[in-house]
Symmetry: C2
Subunit: 345 residues, 2 copies
Amino acid sequence: MRPMKTIDWDDGSVLLIDQTRLPSVLKMVRCRSVSHLITAIRRLEVRGAPALGVAGAYGVALAAFTTRGRDFENFAGKVEAAAQQIARARPTAVNLSWGAEQVLARVQQARSIDEAREAALAEAQRIADEDVAACHALGDYGASLIPDHSTVLTHCNAGALACREWGTALGVIRSAVQAGKKVSIISCETRPLLQGSRLTAWELDRDGIPVTVIPDSAAAHLMRKGRIDCVLVGADRITHDAVFNKVGTYMHAVSARAHGIPFYVAAPLSTFDPDHGEEEIEIEDRDRDEVATFNGRVLIPDGVPVLNPAFDATPLSLVTAIVTPFGVLRPPLDWETIAAKRRVI
Amino acid sequence: MRPMKTIDWDDGSVLLIDQTRLPSVLKMVRCRSVSHLITAIRRLEVRGAPALGVAGAYGVALAAFTTRGRDFENFAGKVEAAAQQIARARPTAVNLSWGAEQVLARVQQARSIDEAREAALAEAQRIADEDVAACHALGDYGASLIPDHSTVLTHCNAGALACREWGTALGVIRSAVQAGKKVSIISCETRPLLQGSRLTAWELDRDGIPVTVIPDSAAAHLMRKGRIDCVLVGADRITHDAVFNKVGTYMHAVSARAHGIPFYVAAPLSTFDPDHGEEEIEIEDRDRDEVATFNGRVLIPDGVPVLNPAFDATPLSLVTAIVTPFGVLRPPLDWETIAAKRRVI
């Protein structure tokens, strides 16, 4: 395993791997302003729910360091406005607003601008470190679910690149491999932005974990042929009734159930949303161009519309278990305990 | 509707639309030799099971016209060898070998080279015309299955471009629209070669039929949201126990069943294979590059393997009905009647 930090605080700015350039180019982006960071979030240069939580936290710290104010109240008001902009950069992953809110609360509790900056950075660093610890903890719990000599199907990228390091779904795989198990991964390419091809294949291959890429639509076929032992994905938000994750997750859950294959989700506590149900959550619709063009080539005739939902919702009834940093949970979930633990992250 | 011939006999050669260039460029390819036609089939310049049946038939006619022989026996032997090469150009669609065999039989029944050529071309033309008639006949039968004001999900391209004209699945849609029904289509983009984006969207848009493209993995999500009234696809081969069609068809069938949505297949008789079961049929594995690169861009790190099955098999138990030129069949199928009708196409 070769640990790398997907996102970090460095010399008063936020440093992140530009995930749009992988697998061909490993390039870092340095965001010195909140607006630059928001653009990076919208362009998916940084993506993945846990990494967005860290980005939200670092983003508010960056706001604190780059904001000038007549007095503390004026300063805190401006930081709050910046925090709201950051939280709204993408709507579906709850972690982004969660990370921003945690740091904003520290700013608001401070008594001076200097104290606010120090507290904001300390809190953001704590959230970033906590993300790493959470991935290792859930990895260790989840590894027990992965049989030796098994093939695991995953969708999109819930790996080191979706977190600060190690990963959620791929963190479980890394922990299983570290524990000596032989595990191979089937990575769905994950249209339209191909995070499965570009990111999951890249980071597993880099760690020497066997990975094979398939078109998303071949997953059910491989399940029917007995070639998949379990499905393991990350999550962007877990409400009372559903797991929101990259579009395609629901179809894998339906197929897994039809073939009697376990369907696992791995997520840190910041991904849980105890306050909402599925119907209240907005699923981000992304640009037509992501589906209609590729690398400058037109794939769909002009004028033909596209539906490009970034996420879908999988009812908890199709989920075998959720791997968290405090253990493996099987639905129905104990929401009181989850909410209490989430408050003290 | 603007009819166009996907494949035709023209001045001693086979003329076909180069489907790899759509939707940007509508360009014809003229095949003057069997080897050129085989390359066109392998490169998917012509594809779709019924169109491959016509290509197989015209291909053997082309062999008859371009082959020289010391005597009739020598000539017939060479044409037979060419027919076998054509039939093996792609393994899964049964129509290709069926079309080649029909024309080869006429060559073998002739008593002179001239008579063989004349009979081969007449039989190939008959098969080509029969394909058009079959699509219109099955279109009219199938139209009764499509409710007015409905949304139909389709996968890949079972349209005019997959046949000589009109189409199988899209022939049903055209017949329903011609009968005055309001129908809109959700076309799955169909990775890796994007026939849904490039071909289905193009030909429906050209005919003014409303079409929206989605990533393949969004289909189950839309079914769950109540936005799909039925699924309608073509087929590459229908054995005793399964429908072989573009990879992804099976996942749509599983999802349709889970949501109580009818799953329809439309196919001419040449697609039925009364002599085989699923386990005997080879599913074509296509090149890694189709998934790993696009338009010159590397999507998957070098050395990471890809599984790229062109087709999958959907058990007949998941199929609500099969639309054929002699009516709508509901499993279990009456194979004796199908085999008898198939012999007299």
